[in-house]
């Protein structure tokens, strides 16, 4: 009898632990899927190089990938070659938003690894990025011609993401 009880107790714990494990692999908290199929929020964000502002009008009539990056962000380096590849494709405007960064370092970053951005803006204190549900960087958002958000990429872009984007814009 005691043996059975012991086995049952052990199984209960095993069961609880495995449920915990399963739950870990699901994403519950950070889910911005609600942004998808929503219209791009209004924004007015200052250009990186001059004192012009970019707004939604600048990204109309084209597929746009908004990419949030910074020179201090290690994963941004990892995804950079993918962005460089994407910059070769037609049909796609890449709007880079330099996130909470120092200008000289951001410039060095681009001259070192190349500049994939058609438009480049800066968000010095990270306040504009909040509108796009940016949680940490790198993150990217793919917007269609009607200014609808069709995809959001959290973390560095991968080769799969690259193929995915190419499929969508073609």
């Amino acid at each position: 009898m005691q043996k059975i009880i012991k086995i049952i107790i052990s199984f209960i714990f095993l069961f609880v632990i495995s449920i915990f494990y399963i739950s870990l692999t699901r994403d519950t908290n950070y889910n911005t899927s609600s942004l998808i199929n929503k219209e791009t929020p209004e924004f007015k964000i200052i250009s990186f190089n001059d004192s012009n502002y970019y707004t939604r009008d600048d990204i109309k009539n084209n597929y746009t990938l908004i990419n949030f990056w910074a020179s201090w962000c290690a994963p941004c380096r990892i995804e950079h070659p993918i962005l460089m590849k994407l910059s070769q494709t037609k049909n796609l405007v890449i709007l880079g938003i330099n996130f909470k960064d120092k200008e000289p370092q951001a410039k060095t970053f681009l001259s070192e690894l190349g500049n994939p951005y058609d438009l480049l803006a800066k968000d010095k204190n990270g306040k504009h990025s909040v509108k796009f549900g940016i949680y940490g960087i790198p993150e990217s958002i793919l917007i269609n011609k009607e200014l609808m958000i069709i995809q959001k990429f959290v973390g560095p872009l991968s080769d799969d993401d690259y193929n995915n984007i190419i499929k969508i814009i073609e």
Binding site: Q2, K6, I9, S10, F13, V16, I17, I19, F20, Y21, I22, S23, L24, T25, R26, D27, T28, N29, Y30, S71, W72, K100, D101, K102, Q105, N125, G126, K127, H128, V130, K131, G136
Partner: protein, 626 residues
Amino acid sequence: MLSNLGNILLFLNVILSLSIIYTANRNLKISGGIDKNIFQLSLIQSTSIIICFFVLVAAFIVSDFSLIAVYQNSHSLKPLFYKIAGTWGNHEGSLLLWAIILAIFSFLFLVYNKDHPKKFRLLTLIIQNILILGFLFFILFNSNPFSKISPIPSEGLGLNPILQDPALAIHPPLLYVGFVGASIYFSAAIASLISNYSERSFSLSIKNWVLISWCFQTLGILVGSIWAYYELGWGGFWFWDPVENASLLPWFAMTALFHSLIVFEKRNLFYFWVIILCLITFTLSVTGTFLVRSGILNSVHTFASDPTRGIYILIFLSLMIFGSIFLLFQKYKKENYDLNRNSKETFILVNNWFMMFYLITVLLGTIYPIFTDALTDNKISVGPPFYNAIIFPVVVVFLLFMALGPKTKWIKNKFENIRIYFLILAGATSLNLAIIFFFKSYSLLSNFIIISALFLIISSLMDIAKAFKKNKIDFARIISHTSFGFLVLFIGLNSIFSLEKDYNIKLGETKKFENYSIQLKNLDLKNYKNYQAIIGKLEIKNLNSNQINILNPEIRIYNKPKTLTYEAAIKTSLIKDYYLTMSNIDRSDYYNIKFQKKPLMAWIWISVIMIVVGGLIRLFSNAKNN
């Protein structure tokens, strides 16, 4: 620089833990006392981990943004107090605080338990150091507060404004002493099982530690509730939020534990039950940590979710659980209690059943949504209605037992003078009727709760009179039990007599309800550094007493990004709180105001403080007796 220093100190601590384990293990095999080196190593360990923590504090003070932890949680313009509090206001820093508590408790336990067998003390030290190692590895390889970023950002990301609150600055350390303090009796329980140290003197080695962690846990929960009440703007203080529950679960286990320890100490009964409770308490602490830090629960406390972090804690937790149940099954011997149904032992056992009932209820409510989500893809949430429906009716019976239990005698009790209890019950009932007569009537369940709370209060107070005659007063118990009665009474009265009114109001307009009038006298626009505030001036007038109170709730508009926050205005007095929030209504000159009258709020806080005072008195009298 600070980063390197911190990392070196962390590595030093790993080496120290390993050498303590090694030396203690070697010392086990030879006769004689405990090697002096072990004391020294343990002292150095505590000292160096404290220094390591202060290195991190220093990094926050000087705003060294080369550390990710500082960059993510601080800002150079933050007031010094919150810079310092920022050290433990984040995952990485708080883990370092855990490690400190583990190490200090380990050292103090070693020093203060000279009368206990050497093998038991050394094994406790070894187990505790294994726990310390586990945490150190976690800190070093997963959640290192000294991780660097390069290039160094010019400014930090700051801390969420609602977290910049004095109550919230001291809330985590208090709670951690409770949570992590439980580790020492976890280690002691394992050591006791391995070394077969099951004499009743074992209870002496741990009972003060249980009390210390319990006192801190209680205070930590209290401070958290106070923060929620003042800052969250809902007017409540307990939301049955999963993270709140996580702090309550070990509290139930601790409370059961120190009651059982009394029986174990006096009657040498319940040894295995005490051991099980020791193991459960710390296991629940770690489970709570897992639930909170892994991000699998959604709650107002949500930290950034990080699966690898969760996996690490889960592995740690599994090792703890399966290690302890394996050992327990090996050593477990059936104990035959021949308890008299009417005896102090039985009553304390009943207390434990109640505690287990609450624990299981809250545990189920907390993890049930995780289970349904994982097994059936169904997202459900378990909220206050579930807890209120299950917990409160049972409280009635619990309070009655709590009143009777302390009056019983060990081994065999006989209730003499049963008439007195009926008198107390009659007294409590008539007081309850008086409340209804003078104020208003309320639900049947509320009636029962108020009566049973009064029953507990009156009968505990009568114990004082009785004890004076015998010249032997157990202040600790009487204060804690009476205060618990008051706590339930005040919570009951508070929820019965709370008044909540919602109005749309224009400038100059007056609204009347019951015996109050409320007028929006003025609106003031003020500019601050990073926000604009619309400050309402509302006059609340008690029409019976003509007493006037002015409350100034705020609507804050932060510039970048444009966000609105609502600051509640609270007027606290001993009898009642007025609680007022105001929000604007788009495209109109009306404002929505929510007025709440919350009676006896201050007394809820005071009752909890008094419960802790009881615990502290017990702690000091224990220390004196030793």
